[in-house]
């Protein structure tokens, strides 16, 4: 009886085939969720950028909740730019270039817009100083006037002397 020993060539081919499959699965498997590049950005991703922008047509309504057709077009533009791999800052720069700095929810800290950042803390400091001054004045006004020492009060001194004499 002869034992049929399989040749090593098919076995090597099998190993190579398995390795190739494994390699292919590694290459074609999706990346980790943190780095996933979705083909089209989700509404949340679009709105994350949109809420930082305001359409000049619909004043005081952030772009992510603005119901007009113009805003829908803008959100579509954001979606297209995200799909093209643009960063959030690049998209915001694009909108500023197209429609002006007033589309930004947070105006740039330069020129007159700088006042938006400087005035509130300045007003707070000035207000705190005014309150401090007012409280100090009130405290001074409420402080009782110190009565003269007993020894300096002539009337009291005379009464005390009289009392001592009677003792």
């Amino acid at each position: 009886m002869t034992y049929h020993r399989p040749s090593t060539l098919p076995r090597a081919a099998l190993v190579l085939f398995v390795l190739a499959i494994a390699l292919a699965s590694v290459i074609t498997s999706p990346a980790s969720p943190a780095r996933a590049q979705e083909p089209t950005p989700s509404d949340d991703q679009v709105n994350a950028v949109a809420k930082q922008l305001y359409c000049p047509v619909c004043e005081n309504v952030p772009l992510d909740v603005c119901p007009t057709q113009a805003c829908a077009q803008w959100r579509q533009t954001i979606r297209e730019k995200l799909t093209a791999g643009w960063s959030e800052q690049e998209i915001k720069n694009f909108f500023v270039e197209q429609y002006g700095a007033r589309v930004l929810a947070a105006p740039p800290a330069r020129g007159l817009s700088l006042l938006v950042y400087l005035l509130p803390p300045l007003a707070f400091v000035v207000g705190a100083y005014i309150v401090y001054r007012a409280v100090r004045t009130w405290r001074r006004a409420a402080r009782p006037v110190a009565s003269p020492p007993v020894a300096e009060d002539d009337y009291t001194r005379r009464i005390e002397e009289e009392l001592r004499r009677r003792d």
Partner: protein, 183 residues
């Protein structure tokens, strides 16, 4: 007997300067807010020299209003998302075809729009006169427009002579342009 010098009074000049600075700052801030409110409430520019601007059209041509002096210029603000603009689109194109040989230029300024939709709009209504985006909304701010559509008529001397708020009709367009094109 020697006189002891009295202690210096608590620098009233510095205190006055501080107060002056505070009140001056407040007054400047109020003036700024007032000016902003005035500009917001002022409404569109309706007379006097037309604000100069440069329009880069969707075809890449650069047009400066000052270079059109000697011609009557019709500046129309529109947007693809604006329904009333659609009502006047055909009228404006017909007006352009009628008056283009009489020294009248039509310029379309696309306000707060996206380019693909704007191009589709121009194609849909067969608009052939120069049109371009209002980059940075600089032109609309110069004219202080309140919305779209708005149409501004500028005479041969570069003076703004008429403003039409809302869609314009052919008879109104003619009634404005006919006296302006008369030699």
């Amino acid at each position: 007997m020697s006189d002891t010098p009295a202690p210096p009074p608590p620098a009233p000049r510095a205190r006055n300067f501080g107060r002056l600075l505070l009140w001056g700052g407040l007054a400047a801030l109020l003036a700024l807010v007032g000016f902003g409110l005035y500009r917001t409430q002022a409404g569109p520019v309706s007379s006097g020299p037309a604000p100069d601007f440069t329009l880069t059209t969707f075809d890449g041509e650069t047009i400066r209003l000052a270079d059109l002096k000697g011609q009557v210029v019709v500046v129309n603000f529109w947007a693809s998302w604006c329904k009333p603009c659609e009502e006047e689109a055909a009228t404006l194109e017909a007006g352009w075809q009628k008056y283009r040989d009489q020294g009248v230029s039509f310029l379309g300024v696309d306000y707060v729009d996206t380019e693909p939709e704007a191009r589709a709009y121009l194609e849909r209504f067969g608009i052939t006169y120069p049109n371009g985006p209002d980059l940075g909304t600089r032109i609309s701010q110069a004219f202080r427009i309140r919305g779209v559509p708005e149409t501004y008529f500028i005479d041969r001397q570069g003076t703004l002579v008429r403003v039409k708020i809302g869609p314009i009709e052919m008879n109104e367009l003619q009634s404005i342009l006919d006296p302006l094109v008369k030699p």
